[in-house]
């Protein structure tokens, strides 16, 4: 029994390791092909990550990515591809900032209100895709792509000063107005290096909740079962349509939270410069982490490292787009190496079973002979 677990663990680790090594080699090849020193930019990035202020940036970014990736992972477990996390995240951040700026309640209630609005907005936006999928059979991939684009337009319109937006004096930026101090989430100060957003810890706590709900509750079992085989789940009494809508709503609600570490910890307002594309990065991270809460944590950390440690590469005469190329290569390397490892695992298992069967068969014949 112990031995099988070890095998499984080894195979599980082989995928990511193989992926990272091949992504690293491929990146070096790209750098070599363009006549750039293949090792130096990566060494510089690692050196950058040694500074404490960069580390704080990386941890904060990890929290945001972790939430976005959890949102994507919930969909994945259900065999749903929520590409719309980006739209849900932006719309939720914007509307919760509007509500947060409009009211001024005592501390915890204010924060709670912002959190609830963000979750509700994200769930509403993903719910549209969920209803379309469950009721009308519209592929969630296409509908969420459309909803992302619609969210972009909707936000641009809502942010106009004549609607909900505020234009700060002497600036071209548009914001939603500032959230009063009671709505700021307490942060962990790291001295001169900045502070770690308090919401980052909420994000990691959600990872535990995610693990518990999926693996230790009936709902989680139903969700995984429907994801593995819709018809089999339906035959055992699971309402697949309801599951589609529920998981889409939960995914959207978590996506709505993804903007909050930044909103509650740093900007305290939604402006034109609020980060975009977080949802798409979340897809990469969920894939890399194999939808497992711990795996997602380490991949979020890795991607956050690539993002933040590459920012200053330009100063040394290297293009910082190297990090984007690495991200793309990592995704490809990850999915391909997982597939290869999976095939190897299956082949190994077949061999093993074959051997055991052969051995068992031999024993049986011996018994028969003895009898």
């Amino acid at each position: 029994m112990k031995k099988i677990d070890k095998d499984k663990l080894l195979l599980g680790a082989a995928g990511p390791v193989l992926a990272l090594v091949s992504a690293f080699v491929l990146t070096s090849l790209v750098l070599l092909a363009t006549g750039v020193n293949p090792i130096e930019p990566i060494r510089l990035m690692i050196e950058n990550a040694g500074y404490e202020d960069v580390q704080v940036l990386i941890v904060n970014q990890t929290g945001t990515y972790y939430l976005a990736a959890l949102a994507v992972a919930i969909g994945f477990r259900m065999n749903l591809f929520n590409i719309g996390v980006d739209g849900q995240y932006r719309l939720a951040a914007m509307l919760s900032a509007v509500v947060g700026a409009a009211v001024d309640l005592p501390g915890p209630i204010q924060i709670l209100l912002i959190v609830v609005v963000a979750m509700a907005t994200g769930a509403f936006w993903s719910g549209i895709a969920g209803v379309l999928k469950a009721r009308r059979g519209v592929s969630e991939v296409v509908s969420t792509i459309m909803l992302n684009a619609i969210a972009t337009s909707l936000i641009a319109w809502l942010l106009l000063p004549k609607n909900l937006g505020v234009q700060p004096a002497g600036s071209n930026d548009l914001t939603t107005g500032d959230i009063p101090e009671s709505g700021w989430f307490p942060a962990v100060s790291m001295g001169d290096s900045g502070e770690i957003y308090g919401f980052t810890f909420v994000a990691f706590a959600l990872g535990v909740v995610y693990w518990f709900v999926l693996n230790r509750t009936r709902f989680g079992f139903d969700l995984r079962a429907t994801g593995a085989s819709e018809s089999a789940a339906q035959a055992s009494g699971v309402d697949a349509k309801k599951m589609i809508l529920t998981s889409m709503l939960i995914s959207g609600a978590v996506a709505g939270l993804a903007g909050l570490p930044t909103l509650l910890g740093d900007t305290h307002t939604y402006s034109l410069s609020f980060p975009v594309g977080v949802g798409f990065t979340g897809i990469t991270i969920a894939l890399l982490g194999r939808n497992h809460p711990v795996g997602i944590f380490f991949s979020a950390l890795l991607i956050a490292f690539l993002d933040k440690a590459s920012a200053s590469l330009d100063q040394y005469g290297y293009a910082k787009e190297i990090a984007t190329i690495m991200k793309g290569l990592i995704v490809i390397a990850v999915v391909v190496s997982y597939e290869l490892v999976r095939r190897y695992g299956i082949r190994r298992q077949q061999q093993k079973v074959g051997e055991e069967l052969a051995a068992g068969g031999a024993m049986k014949t011996e018994k028969e002979v003895a009898a």
Binding site: L147, W157, L329, I332, L340
Partner: protein, 421 residues
């Protein structure tokens, strides 16, 4: 013989069974009816730009890249590979097209754009066909990689070229435009008279013969060419059989992997051509982020068109038309479109009443009333809503007709050689 049988069955939707293939007279009648409707709206609202020569020619130019991406999606999905990497392949097309275009002339640029897109397609084929990875995941990866690669390479090419920077290329020589001299002017004059229907037809014809890029002609011809190859040759039948039932195809001796590879590489090439068109014809320059999600829109146009080239072209035309409306003085034109959509909803209402579907009729009535109210109370539509219009349209079309759409049966499903044994 066998080709025609397959095409007939693939067009007939499963549900109902009473729907027949549209014949040419019907199509012409529908086109004429639509034109008359637009004309009516133009006369009522006074938005005379709705069918002007410039509007139609602009719509055509904006529709071409979307249509090429959609056609690329169609080729891949007909062979059973979902291609969400169209956007990335288009980006590769813009970059390679501009890179070769500014150095060795526009037509070499077009060629390199196709090659660049096809390389993206090849990567997608390797990941999805050989390694059997989820098609959407692979597409997302291709998109990320294309963005990173082009941005990175720009630093070492365009940034060092005269007149370029790390975000845009030097100017590319244009491809020849054709204007049919007498006809174009005559049509413009006729259109300027704003007569009911006559001016609209003149505007459409004028738009099709004024400043028409040679590459546009090539792109438009690719649609009948694709129909012919996919539905009238044995090559096309085999390719489509890989998208419908690869195991059956394999049992008949079709090399499924080969056909999937060919289809996805052609798909990438078409998306790359769309990208090259954007860089060389639409703007004459490569700019970072130039594709602006057109690959996704092309995919939407293809689904809108029920995985058929004709329908896809119609979808692309619709997207091009709304884009063009927005670019040309926008708000008023789009305001007129409210009226058009309202009238269409009233027609739908009548149809549902005739079919005795009262709930649907009620919904249509409410929306039509809201649209007319909106039309009457405002005199322009916010530009942000105009941006969203094509996406909302796609979503609505999908919501209303997704159950009638029929995608290739094995589209997006994993297939491994020897599965049929």
């Amino acid at each position: 013989m066998s080709t025609t049988t397959v095409s007939a069955t693939s067009q007939a939707p499963k549900a109902g069974g009473g729907r027949k293939k549209l014949s040419l007279p019907w199509i012409l009648l529908i086109v004429a009816g639509a034109l008359a409707l637009v004309s009516l709206v133009r006369v009522i609202s006074g938005a005379n730009d709705l069918t002007s020569v410039g509007q139609v020619s602009g719509a055509l130019q904006l529709a071409v890249p979307i249509g090429l991406a959609g056609l690329g999606g169609l080729w891949a999905e007909r062979a059973g590979v979902v291609n969400i990497g169209l956007e990335g392949m288009m980006i590769l097309g813009t970059w390679f097209g501009a890179w070769a275009g500014y150095q060795w002339g526009p037509w070499n640029g077009v060629l390199m754009g196709v090659v660049g897109g096809a390389l993206g397609g090849l990567l997608h084929a390797i990941i999805t066909v050989t390694f059997n990875v989820n098609h959407i995941v692979s597409g997302v990866a291709v998109n990320i990689l294309a963005v990173g690669m082009t941005q990175y390479l720009s630093n070492y090419t365009f940034a060092e070229a005269e007149g370029g920077s790390s975000k845009q290329s030097p100017r590319i020589d244009p491809i020849t435009d054709i204007t049919i001299p007498g006809l174009s002017d005559w049509m413009s004059d006729l259109q300027a008279k704003h007569w009911f229907l006559v001016s609209d037809i003149a505007g459409v014809i004028g738009g099709l013969v004024t400043e028409l890029s040679l590459l546009t002609i090539v792109a438009v011809l690719l649609i009948p060419a694709s129909i012919w190859v996919l539905w009238r040759t044995s090559f096309g039948l085999r390719l489509r059989s890989c998208g419908e039932n690869p195991v059956a195809a394999e049992s008949l001796g079709v090399n499924v992997y080969k056909y999937k590879y060919i289809a996805v590489v052609i798909s990438g090439g078409l998306a790359g051509l769309g990208g090259a068109f954007l860089a060389i014809v639409s703007t004459g320059i490569y700019q970072e982020g130039q594709t602006g999600g057109r690959g996704y829109i092309g995919l939407a146009a293809m689904i809108f068109g029920n995985w058929m080239p004709g329908g896809m072209a119609l979808g692309a035309g619709l997207f091009g038309f709304t884009d063009s409306l927005k670019l040309r003085g926008g708000a008023e034109n789009v305001h007129a479109m409210l009226l058009l959509v309202g009238i269409l909803l009233v027609l739908a209402l009548a149809w549902q009443l005739y079919k005795k579907k009262y709930v649907q009729a009620g919904v249509a009535a409410v929306f039509a009333a809201l649209l007319f109210l909106w039309y009457a109370l405002t005199d322009q539509v916010p530009s942000q809503f105009v941006d969203a219009a094509p996406y909302v349209t796609t979503l609505l079309v999908l919501a209303l007709s997704a159950q009638r759409l029929r995608m290739p049966k094995a589209d997006g499903l994993p297939y491994r050689k020897g599965q049929g044994k």
